[in-house]
Symmetry: C2
Subunit: 190 residues, 2 copies
Amino acid sequence: MARWELNARGRLEAAALELFVERGFDQIIVAEIAQRAGLTERTFFRYFTDKREVLFGGTGALHDLLVLAVAGAPSTLPPLDAVAAGFRPAIAVYFENRPREQARQRNTVIAAHAGLTERELIKLSSLSSGLADALRGRGVAEPAASLAADIGVTVFKLANDRWIESADDRSLSDHFDAVFGELKPLIAHS
Amino acid sequence: MARWELNARGRLEAAALELFVERGFDQIIVAEIAQRAGLTERTFFRYFTDKREVLFGGTGALHDLLVLAVAGAPSTLPPLDAVAAGFRPAIAVYFENRPREQARQRNTVIAAHAGLTERELIKLSSLSSGLADALRGRGVAEPAASLAADIGVTVFKLANDRWIESADDRSLSDHFDAVFGELKPLIAHS
């Protein structure tokens, strides 16, 4: 790999997010992203099929990681703990090296665009289906499996929002644990 | 109102759902819906702005009912119990007179069409935001308010799926209570 293509993916992501925030997702063409990153369009298409994949390309890997981790969690764990036990390593692998500013830019771009917002909801819904499958594979019956999967995704989504909004140095993992800890007092335990 | 327009809305809904299932949402024009219902296009547009509103028109009323009922639930209830106390009357008012076969047709049509699926997810997400607002109005802090609202919508969605799929005569309310009953053990052991 030529020296000027070092970390090409990361440079393309950073350039694309900056441009999307500055001028709006629909206004940006791939040539501008490549130019801002100091790379060619051809290099862009080696990493992404289109500009939308800059926003959603990594979510497939997160999905696979999560489902594997839930399937492999200790068999004695109750459903929601198995989901949390899946999210923790997936978050550690997938998010701990991502700059929070980029996560913030990604959220801003998606929230400002109806089509991208819909896409994000579809992705989260498919993540929840994947987790429910993994739980059923652990012997969890319905509707408990779907319920635990959906609650896990909700906790993750809220933790992500709080991580993005906060200014202190708590990690996404810290926020995940904090939101997960809020579940018990939500319901009367008669 | 002329005699042949009695229950025009219900007849138009039934005709539209039948046609959407038979030939697909995109293939159907309003003139066919009106014809199948034995009514005019003009009558159709007195009740709906377009054919998509046949599927989503009532969800605004459900949303308003729910938010009011959560806001008015006894102030001593923990957040999730307040959400459930909101869903119960809203379901009773909004669903108890709806034929299950129509709910089933509606689900089939939406599941077969990416644009409608996205629309449904957006509606559920906005319902969750409305419920979280109502909970914050009751003094519930974040992230507990958003968490309880999202979990409530999940319980409703799963109960609706089970109601539609089941052949016995349990009502949507019965299914809601059954799915809600599965939450306690999930959360208690988390």
